[in-house]
């Protein structure tokens, strides 16, 4: 059993038409013993960026605090909010700092990127434990149910989904994947990000 699977938990992010969605389960366990069913793994970075941190739970909290600090410093120094691409680079370099004793987290980033013409484009990215970035155009999965998430999500996802359809797609992908994973589940949370608002919904899941 890998340390990556010690606490359980999964995150998924998807791109839609002028929107992105990111979702996770809410379980915190110690191997197969469940401790809490309200453990957040997704955190807001700015009004338009969310980061999901599946992996070892102690590092979820440590990295969340670390990112909060570094984003605050960035905002003060630059006198503007961080953009998703810059935040992804920040995540990557933060993880690579610990190249030979890594944080056991595979972050997933989802946000709306500001364009030079004033519009917004959906953005998602993922990294491995040492910060190697994966800029995906469609979807990113991570966590103990990642294999199942790949299967379900690749079957359900299609390009240019509207916000409501994207919510349905990501929710069904996550709920059905975590039902086949003993280490993920116990409810889920979904954030759908558009250029001017974020809709957050908490889903009930199977409690077994």
């Amino acid at each position: 059993m890998s340390i990556m699977d010690y606490n359980g938990g999964s995150v998924i992010a998807m791109v839609g038409k002028d929107c992105v969605a990111i979702a996770s389960d809410l379980r915190l366990g110690v191997q197969s013993l469940s401790i809490a069913s309200d453990f957040q793994k997704i955190f807001p970075v700015t009004d338009r960026i969310f980061v999901g941190l599946p992996g070892l739970a102690t590092d979820v909290t440590t990295l969340h605090e670390q990112f909060r600090y570094r984003v605050n410093m960035y905002t003060i120094k630059e006198e503007r909010e961080i953009e998703p691409e810059a935040f992804t680079a920040l995540v990557s370099s933060t993880l690579y700092e610990k190249r030979f004793g890594p944080y056991f987290i595979e972050p997933v980033i989802a946000g709306m990127q500001k364009l030079p013409n004033g519009g917004y484009a959906p953005f998602i990215a993922g990294t491995d434990v040492i910060g190697c970035i994966n800029f995906a155009k469609d979807l990113i999965v991570a966590g103990t149910a990642s294999e199942k998430l790949f299967g379900v999500a690749e079957g359900l996802w299609e390009p240019d989904l509207e916000a409501d359809d994207l919510f349905e797609t990501i929710s069904q992908s996550l709920l059905n994947a975590v039902d086949r994973d003993a280490y993920s589940g116990w409810g889920a949370i979904v954030h759908v990000i558009t250029k001017d608002k974020v809709v957050t919904r908490t889903l009930k899941g199977r409690m077994d």
């Binding site: 915190l28 110690v30 809490a36 070892l56 102690t58 440590t62």
Partner: protein
Amino acid sequence: MDVSFAITGKGYVILAADTTAAHSILKVKLDEDKIKELSPHLAMAYSGEPGDTVQFAEYVERNIRLYQIRNLYPLRPASAASWIRRSLADSLRSRKPYSVNLLLGGYDTNTHTPHLYWMDYLGTLTEVPFGAHGYGSYFALSLLDRYHDPEAPLEEGLAVLRRCIDEVAKRLIVAQPKYKVKVIDKDGVREIEF
């Protein structure tokens, strides 16, 4: 073989820990207090590697006290939990990590709410309505899933705790003869004869 439980209820947190100090297969002490009172409205039940536990608990106690002396007001439960978690998380990636698991119970005198935090030696922190550490957790958590009521008065909370202790006594091979029980509510931390 440490066993500890914690339950929240209407305006209180109950912490319970067995009182045996074991050395290998020997019980060397039967009235060890494994619940440290950190401040007027904060207490923590600790378990884990003997030696590390007391050392770490005293380190936490003195730092929480230092904060209170410097600032003239005590740390609130959430802040104390964050500070303790950070200590454990930093320790985890040091040459000799502390191997200590904690249940931190506190009463927030500003919002008048009880809080219970479950924490392990890795620095995993989560707020829970009830929690347990050690072999007792395999029995107590499923019992508490069924019988815990966050709005229960103290008497009912203690009755549920009794169920947990009885179940462990009945089913675990190593029965814990005695428990120390402490309640944290608006009046502070107090010990209850159980």
